[in-house]
């Protein structure tokens, strides 16, 4: 399929040719420090639907001009949080502050937030032009100015030719761009997006991700973006908040949530990982020695919250594992046997067995082939490995 040019940059010159996909390849620009000035604050927000608690005592701050993704599986409370920010839902308790003002009692139509819905929510009885003019008419702008701003918004999403069409006559991607133009045309102070790319095919979705990211950078928009697609969140966001069961498991830059997962849920939800169970034998100088059930010991980077003797998980990303024929003293080394090897184009996926424990390694495409049954050493440095403390309940269970 032909790649569509960016709709924001007529020449498409800003869009780099080599597209950054994996967070491992992410440029350092991504790690830009968040929270320039706090603009939105969720203060101890709790939301019940009947007896069901969907958001539990949640705190979250979002900076002005920041792109924050709310990432999590369905039912984790991320969309509910967005709906509360938009004013479609009321929190059961807690306060939402925007620009220092509590907005709990402000009705949706006075919140000045552009919302892009997953199903577009375009008005079927209006043309594309009328849809985009709608928020401007509601604000009582003059006819000439409305026409002018609609023209510019349509130029921005490269849909000028579709002005007189009705939404039903457009493709899904075009409808999504109309929805985007409609949410941006009145220059809202926050743009909320609820899985806006969910209905698009993969190629279009990736293009739209880059387009929205460019839009964010150029216009300095504050964007809250809900998604269940981890690669989407990593590609676009300044910070990612990982949701699980109504709580935020971890919030940080894409690099942080990928490389330094705080919990087992984050490690497993974002990307693929190897989780190895063991007991902490020693802790010294930011490194922990963890003894596995097989008796082998692994040295891993560790942050606070882990005590000696605790049962923990080790998380090792598959692409950080190297396979070597001889033991290498500088690395953690596990003696393994290849059980399967799959060529996947851009990488070679090797499945290993370390004793009874399965491991997965992703090797560069220049790697040699590994026949099943080959004995190899899986090597990785202490820095490529994270100790994940089990949640409180599990820790106690492990201690008893």
């Amino acid at each position: 399929m032909r790649r569509r040019r960016s709709f924001l940059l007529p020449g498409g010159e800003k869009v780099a040719e080599g597209r950054m996909r994996g967070p491992a390849l992410c440029p350092t620009a991504r790690a830009r420090e968040p929270l320039l000035a706090e603009f939105i604050r969720f203060d101890r927000i709790t939301k019940f639907y009947g007896p069901l608690c969907v958001v539990e005592n949640l705190d979250l701050g979002i900076g002005k001009g920041e792109f924050v993704s709310l990432l999590g599986p369905s039912g984790s409370g991320k969309t509910t949080l967005l709906m509360m920010l938009a004013g479609f839902e009321q929190p059961t308790s807690g306060t939402i502050l925007v620009d220092g003002q509590a907005v709990n009692d402000v009705p949706t139509h006075k919140r000045d937030m552009g919302v892009v819905f997953q199903s577009y929510a375009l008005f079927p009885h209006m043309t594309v032009g009328e849809n985009i003019a709608f928020p401007l008419e509601m604000r009582g702008l003059g006819k000439a100015e409305i026409a002018d701003r609609v023209t510019r918004a349509l130029d921005m999403v490269q849909l000028s030719a579709m002005r007189e069409r009705r939404p039903a006559q457009l493709s899904g991607g075009q409808q999504q761009r109309v929805a985007l133009a409609r949410a941006l045309v009145f220059e809202p102070r926050v743009v909320l997006m609820d899985e806006p790319l969910g209905a698009l095919d993969k190629q279009l979705r990736e293009q739209m991700q880059l387009d929205i990211r460019d839009l964010h950078r150029r216009l300095g928009l504050t964007i809250v973006f809900v998604t269940h697609d981890q690669s989407e969140a990593l590609t676009m966001s300044d910070r990612v908040a990982v949701f699980n069961k109504g709580k935020i498991e971890q919030i940080g830059t894409p690099r942080q949530v990928y490389d330094e997962p705080a919990t087992r849920f984050v490690a497993e939800f974002i990307g693929e990982t190897n989780l190895i169970e063991g007991v902490v034998a020693r802790i010294s100088g930011g490194e922990a020695a963890v003894r596995l059930a097989s008796g082998a010991e692994i040295v891993s980077a560790v942050s606070g919250g882990v005590a000696e003797g605790a049962t923990v998980y080790l998380s090792v990303r598959p692409e950080r594992i190297e396979l070597a024929e001889a033991r290498n003293a500088a690395h953690n080394c596990l003696e393994t046997e290849v059980t399967d090897s799959v060529y996947q184009g851009d990488h070679l996926r090797v499945e290993l067995a370390a004793g009874s424990h399965p491991l997965i390694a992703k090797l560069g495409r220049r790697s040699r082939e590994f026949e099943p049954g080959t004995k190899v050493f899986a090597a990785f440095s202490a820095g490529d490995c994270r100790v994940i403390a089990p949640p409180d309940g599990q820790r106690q269970a492990a201690a008893s």
């Binding site: 479609f88 949706t108 139509h109 552009g114 929510a121 008005f123 079927p124 009885h125 009705r166 909320l192």
Partner: protein, 392 residues
């Protein structure tokens, strides 16, 4: 090709019961009703010989002996006195004086002892062409008399269309009243049914089921039972008046029955499902997120309703209004039981002609007027809904 033919044959076979039913119980009665309105055989049936002779008459000159002989022969052959009465009534309505002329003539003809030589010898009036002209005109098997009379028009002696005198002009008043009551009922149904449908469509689960069941309940109850129930509720010592007086809203009983108010209340109740259901079915196809979207774009709930929900649901309102209005103009039992003499609708008049006075011609003609009004309304609706914006 033969496979397709056999498939078509099979389809027709399966459809045969439906087609036969429609032909036997819908198309044929409709056709016969309409033909009753324009057929006029009361005279032709009894005067077959005169018809042949009169066909050659120049409609101006005095009657020839052949014409008189033929009429005498026809009249002598008549045995059915009721048919004779019909014919005399028919002729008298075209030319007054026929009643006395005919009774004089028939009694003279039945006098076996002294049979008259010709008609003129019985009564001088038979010499005048006007009477023969009336017979000649009445011999035509088709007539527009009933259709014209249905809208208070008639033909004068010269055959021109003119208004009937005021004492004969009730149909138009009743037609206007029928449309007016139907319009009132339609508006009442919109006023109640539209918000009701919006609320029902916005709910889910058992609450929606209860609301729909409540509106469907009247459909599952006999019309007579519902009307009788309103009879009890609306009467002077009825539930509604008791409550009104208990609340101190009125000092004495309010007249709710045997007047227009009662008719509109009862008809609105009965016809409400036909308004609620089409609107509801349109509303549930409108995506749920359009109103939140409008709100997020800065639209006050009322403006969001006027700009988004109302235009999108108008198709349902139009369909519901059409159903209610068309059903209402044919209403009979409810106005007959709940209404006063000034609230009778066109169906009561049709029933009077059909059952009361056995004037099938007038009953048919009024039926045709009602059918024509319905078809006009429907074509307007079809034209409007074809241009409906936002249709896919």
């Amino acid at each position: 090709m033969s496979a397709r033919a056999s498939r078509t044959g099979r389809s027709l076979f399966l459809l045969a019961p439906l087609l036969l039913f429609l032909a036997g119980f819908f198309v044929w009665p409709l056709f016969s009703m309409m033909s009753q309105a324009v057929s006029d055989t009361a005279v032709l049936r009894l005067l077959p010989q005169s018809a042949e002779v009169l066909a050659g008459w120049d409609r101006k000159s005095p009657p020839t002996p052949e014409m008189q002989t033929a009429l005498i022969a026809d009249l002598k052959a008549v045995e059915d006195t009721q048919a004779l009465g019909d014919m005399v009534r028919r002729l008298n309505s075209a030319r007054s004086g026929f009643r006395t002329l005919m009774s004089k003539t028939t009694s003279a003809l039945s006098d076996e002892a002294d049979p008259p030589a010709d008609l003129v010898s019985i009564d001088k009036r038979w010499e005048r062409p006007e009477f023969w002209l009336a017979i000649a005109d009445a011999l035509s098997p088709l007539t527009d008399r009933n259709l014209l009379a249905a809208v208070d028009l008639g033909r004068n002696a010269d055959g021109e269309i003119e208004h009937l005198p005021a004492d004969q002009s009730v149909n138009r008043v009743i037609l206007v009243r029928t449309f007016w009551i139907s319009a009132l009922v339609t508006f009442a149904c919109i006023a109640i049914g539209y918000p009701y449908a919006i609320i029902a469509a916005s709910l889910s689960g058992w609450k929606r089921d209860v609301m729909l069941a409540a509106v469907l309940l009247p459909l599952w109850t006999s019309l007579l039972v519902r009307t009788a129930a309103w009879f009890i509720l609306l009467q002077e010592q009825g539930l509604i008046n008791d409550v009104l007086q208990m609340l101190g809203l009125t000092s004495g009983p309010v007249q709710l029955i045997f007047n227009r108010t009662g008719v509109v209340i009862a008809m609105t109740h009965v016809l409400l499902p036909f308004m609620v259901l089409p609107i509801y079915s349109v509303l549930i196809t409108i995506p749920k997120n359009l109103m939140p979207a409008a709100a997020s774009l800065g639209a006050h709930p009322l403006r969001a309703f006027l700009r988004v929900l109302l235009p999108l649901s108008l198709r349902g309102v139009a369909a519901g209004s059409l159903l209610v209005f068309i059903s209402a103009i044919g209403y009979y039992i409810t106005p007959a039981l709940i209404g006063g003499p000034g609230d009778q609708m066109i169906s009561s008049i049709i029933a009077f002609y059909a059952i009361g006075s056995a004037n099938w011609g007038m009953a048919g003609a009024l039926g045709v007027v009602l059918l024509a009004a319905t078809l006009v309304l429907y074509s307007v609706y079809a034209r409007l809904s074809a241009d409906e914006p936002g249709r896919r």
